[in-house]
């Protein structure tokens, strides 16, 4: 059947306006795609996490001790609100992986010999479960297995309790406890140098002399249980056994990182689509305002024939809805494709079962409706104008536009502007809202690019502060037990060691008023060179002879200020409790630490100065030799390498960054190009007669193009700097939004980022301007002689 005449008109109008409508559809598509991708990723992560945590019984409360008797387990299980208790032995060892020189730290975790773990159960990806009491069998984490290409049947060797032991890989596994695999002191995942192994409990008991004892307790709580109360009770029960303080899921590092990612996805999935759809609505508004102005007399004719307001309104709204639906469909397809890609990356990162991209019908329907609503809201003011016109008035030509002298002219600076410049400024002044929104949309594109590059800048600054200004060692070693000053001389004798700086780290709970936080207390020597305390801007703080220096994150949690007196509860040894004044607060990019001179720390502990860790500066030529020796030292529990840590982390996230930056560039360019193209096309339509007249009067094509694009250039010139400022403001807001207890992004935006954002937006504007400029060639000069404006 042939469509109704009015629909034929609609189709032909749409074909004629295809350039505009494509611009609108693409901007809407970016918004819908971002929503579909981020919302899909968000729901995928939430669903996978919930399934994983429930199905594999992820614990609610975690506690560590030095050595506690098994008899204690029954007492903990009897506490009201405790559903399941699982006692384990967890022990870190250095590992030798064939063909890999660097020292590797591995966390050995016991699994029951008589069945699966009651909590934090394993997903066996390949191979089999360890045999009961098998002292040479391990299941290894999938991330570590992939990083070293280890398969069931391969062997590695480890120093366990001072004895070299061969370990055979029998299975590859994952656990809800290690969705995100990060070693004790590490900040970033390094799957080559840190891994998790699971081993028979009986075998580990025997190897570590831990018969009838445990050093790690995990609890599952009954619904409605008082978690805080249970944690307090647990601290009391475990205190005599070297407990370091129990905590809930909120302080479990893997869960914390996963929650951070989920939070980011949710925020991104709302904010970015909203920006794009607002811009799409604005573009629709401009297109329809112009179309309705051009079709004024047609509207009058339609109405005089008896077409109702409703039919006329719907006729124009359909055009907006059509563009929105096309954009929505492109966006959904693009979003599904990007979402699947993101899910693949997540899969490699998180190793969760059932982690897949979700494309729920309600989300698709929802985003389509929002997209259509945005289009209609953009169209409506224009359509309402068409409805308001009585038919007779509509059929008369539009009354001439009223112009008035510019503000600058009224102030007496007329001579400053050429007539062409005055044309341009008066056009802007006549439609200030349109100009303002155009500039704002360009600003948003620019801001998006600043925000996109900001994460790189922030990361760069963080790494520089953390790994170049603060940490200046090559290798860090940890000891199983605190050692006397002799350890410094022993380490200095190792091959290639040029400097040794030993320090003490003790777990402690800091309290101020009713607030408290479990953290690591660092005892550093005066004038430490290998570990300096550096703030986010690279300023070095000297360690005061007394008093404690707090990371700003920690100070915020405790509401501490310089001069506040905090209560320090040491969570090992004699578990002393002392009052210590806060000497200063340092805005560190990562972690929540407290620093103290080594002498007052020893006093606090009631011991002589002893060291739990040491930083080494090493001659790179002797690194391999040093590693070989360190791996065999029975006192060393773990080794971490500064350079390797950074490199591994950057390699892990490089792909993500490249992908997300590319997507952001494309999206921001779509906005900038769409807004400029749309604006220039409408300007061309509005000023076609003027421009052709100027051509007849002897203006060259270049001069006429200059006048046509001058307005867009002006708006871009306003929009870009505003966008840079806006970008800075959004980054500042994001710093607060994304900030977790563990890290705070430094608000460090480089000049390069600003130049890049401004340059890219200007480039996109120039390209779309050039596309429109090409149309100036086709201005019909002859027709203009007979055209009535």
């Amino acid at each position: 059947m042939r469509p109704a005449a009015l629909d034929m008109k609609l189709l032909r109008d749409m074909w004629r306006l295809r350039g505009h409508l494509v611009a609108v559809a693409l901007v809407a598509a970016c918004g819908v795609a971002t929503f579909v991708t981020m919302r899909g990723a968000y729901e995928g992560l939430v669903e996978a996490r919930d399934y994983y945590y429930a199905q594999y019984r992820f614990a609610d409360v975690f506690a560590q001790a030095k050595r506690a008797p098994r008899s204690l387990v029954a007492r903990v299980a009897a506490l009201p609100g405790v559903a399941t208790v699982q006692a384990r032995i967890v022990h870190e060892v250095t590992l030798d992986v064939p063909g890999f020189q660097d020292p590797v730290t591995v966390r050995l975790i016991s699994v029951p010999d008589d069945g699966r773990p009651a909590l934090n159960d394993l997903v066996l990806e390949s191979g089999r479960y360890v045999a009961p009491r098998a002292s040479d069998e391990v299941m290894i984490g999938e991330a570590f297995a992939l990083a070293h290409d280890l398969k069931p049947g391969d062997s590695v060797s480890a120093v366990i309790n001072g004895r070299w032991q061969r370990l055979r890989v029998v299975g590859i596994a994952n656990s809800p406890e290690y969705v995100y695999v990060i070693g004790g002191a590490a900040i970033f995942p390094d799957n080559q140098r840190f891994g998790v192994f699971w081993m028979s409990r009986k075998a580990l008991e025997a190897a570590l002399d831990m018969e009838d004892a445990f050093n790690d307790l995990t609890l599952r709580l009954a619904p409605g249980a008082d978690e805080k109360g249970i944690i307090r009770t647990l601290d009391v029960l475990l205190a005599p056994y070297g407990a370091t303080g129990a905590h809930g899921r909120d302080e479990q590092i893997s869960n914390q990182m996963l929650d951070g990612e989920i939070k980011t996805d949710r925020v991104t999935g709302i904010v970015i689509p909203a920006i794009f759809l607002a811009v799409a609505a604005f573009l629709i508004h401009n297109v329809l305002m112009r179309l309705i102005a051009l079709q004024r007399s047609q509207i009058g004719v339609l109405k005089s024939f008896g077409y109702s307001d409703r039919v006329v309104a719907w006729h124009y709204v359909k055009l907006a809805v059509g563009a929105a639906l096309v954009g929505g469909m492109i966006g959904i397809a693009l979003g599904a494709w990007l979402g699947n890609g993101l899910a693949d990356i997540y899969q490699r990162f998180f190793h969760m079962p059932r982690l897949e991209f979700r494309l729920s019908a309600e989300n698709l329907l929802g985003v389509t409706l929002v997209c259509v609503a945005a289009a209609v809201s953009g169209a409506w003011p224009a359509v309402r104008q068409a409805l308001r016109m009585p038919p007779a008035e509509a059929m008369r030509p539009e009354p001439p536009a009223r112009f008035k002298p510019l503000l600058v002219e009224r102030l007496g600076y007329v001579q400053l502007l050429s007539p062409a410049a005055r044309m341009l400024f008066r056009n802007v002044e006549r439609r200030p809202m349109r100009a303002a929104f155009s500039a704002l949309a360009i600003a948003l594109a620019c801001a998006l690019l600043v925000v996109g590059r900001f994460s790189l800048d922030a990361l760069d600054r963080t790494i520089r502060v953390q790994f170049e200004d603060a940490r200046r060692d090559d290798v860090q070693v940890g000891f199983y037990e605190p050692r006397s000053a002799q350890v410094k001389y022993d380490l200095a004798k190792l091959p290639g060691v040029m400097a040794v700086e030993a320090f003490r780290v003790v777990p402690a709970r800091l309290r101020l008023g009713h607030r408290s936080k479990r953290t690591a207390l660092f005892g550093l020597p005066q004038g430490a060179e290998l570990h300096r305390i550096v703030d986010i801007d690279g300023r070095v703080t000297t360690l005061p002879p007394s008093g404690v220096v707090l990371s700003a994150g920690l100070a915020r949690i405790l509401h501490a200020r310089p001069g506040s007196v905090i209560t320090v509860e040491i969570l090992e040894g004699e578990r002393r409790v002392r009052e210590v004044p806060v000497a200063s607060i340092v805005e560190e990019p990562l972690g929540l630490y407290a620093y103290l001179d080594e002498r007052p720390l020893a006093d606090l502990l009631g011991e002589d100065i002893e060291y739990s860790n040491a930083y080494l500066r090493v001659d790179p030529l002797h690194l391999d030799e040093l590693y070989q020796q360190i791996k065999r030292l029975p006192v060393v529990s773990g080794v971490s390498l500064r350079e390797a840590t950074i490199r591994s982390f950057l390699a892990t996230i490089a792909e993500n960054i490249v992908i997300s930056t590319t997507i952001l560039i494309v999206f921001a360019c779509v906005i900038a190009a769409g807004v400029v193209y749309n604006g220039a096309r409408i300007a061309l339509s509005e000023h076609a007669v003027t421009l052709a007249s100027l051509r007849i009067l002897g203006f060259t094509r270049r001069e006429v193009t200059g006048i046509l694009l001058g307005e867009q250039a002006l708006l871009a010139a306003i929009g870009i700097p505003v966008g840079l400022v806006l970008g800075y403001a959004i980054c500042a807001w994001m710093v607060v939004l994304i900030e977790t207890e563990l890290y705070r992004l430094p608000l460090a935006i480089t000049a390069h980022t600003y130049l890049y954002a401004a340059g890219l937006v200007a480039g996109a504007a120039v390209v779309s301007g050039a596309v429109v400029a090409w149309r100036v060639r086709h201005l019909d000069l002859v027709a203009v002689l007979k055209t009535r404006e």
């Binding site: 005055r422 007249s693 007849i696 002859v782 055209t787």
Partner: protein, 247 residues
């Protein structure tokens, strides 16, 4: 046809400014071809006031467009002094219009966002030796309206601004396409008086195309055009003053 009429006629003021030889213009219109001009030979002289008279569709606008460098003929030659317009490219034609031609449109085509003075200045700024916008507007009798926007002016006043805009750069030729077509008789006469004055005082070769036969009486020569050919050319021994015209 009387193709050779131009060169064979009675003495006209000045030397030939424009020369056309065998000018034909064909517009393809889908299946058929429209022959808008069909072998036109014509000369226009310096300082001459010429009226091109013809019915709608006669080809007079096409002739004006070709004279003004807005269009090129399909075949034949067009010369302005020593410039061959028929072979010029777009850039050369733009330059020609900028240097030598003033246009006056039927619907004025003023820039709505610029005042009268600014509309004139728009052109004087790209000209070599222009008169000042104020002088140009004084010439057309609008000295007191220079800061008005087009929307604040009557149709006749707008057309006079358009004339001021066209003559301010001291063009060699002024091409006017139905300059009174959108105006009532009284206003139309005022506009014609301005054109006459420009022709007298500045010596600008002036070509007016119209279908209004009454206007022909104020011309030096009247060229009748129909079906793309020059019909008859009349020379007025005595030119009428615009005030004497009636239609």
């Amino acid at each position: 046809m009387s193709g050779a009429a131009g060169s064979a006629m009675a003495p006209a003021p000045g030397v030939p400014a424009f020369r056309m030889r065998g000018v034909t213009k064909i517009y393809p219109m889908g299946e058929i071809e429209v022959r808008a001009l069909d072998g036109v030979d014509l000369e226009l002289h310096e300082r001459e006031f010429v009226v091109l008279l013809g019915a709608s569709g006669s080809g007079k606008s096409t002739l004006l467009n070709i004279l003004g460098g807005l269009d090129v003929p399909t075949s034949g030659e067009v010369w302005y002094l020593d410039h061959e317009l028929s072979r010029a490219n777009d850039e050369a034609l733009t330059h020609f219009r900028r240097e030598h031609v003033g246009f006056v449109f039927q619907f004025y085509n003023l820039i709505p966002s610029l005042t009268a003075a600014e509309n004139v200045a728009l052109v004087t700024e790209i000209a070599d030796d222009p008169m000042s916008p104020a002088d140009a507007l004084a010439l057309v009798g609008l000295a007191d309206r220079i800061n008005h926007f087009p929307a604040q002016l009557s149709g006749g006043e707008q057309q006079r601004v358009a004339i001021a805009r066209a003559v301010a750069k001291r063009p060699d030729v002024l091409l006017c396409d139905e300059p009174t077509g959108a105006l009532d008789i009284t206003t139309g006469k005022v506009v014609l008086e301005v054109l006459e004055r420009v022709n007298d005082e500045l010596g600008t070769t002036t070509v007016v195309i119209t279908h209004n036969a009454a206007i022909a009486r104020m011309a030096d020569r009247v060229i009748h055009i129909s079906s793309g050919r020059i019909g008859r050319i009349e020379t007025n021994a005595v030119k009428a003053r615009p005030a004497e015209l009636a239609w």
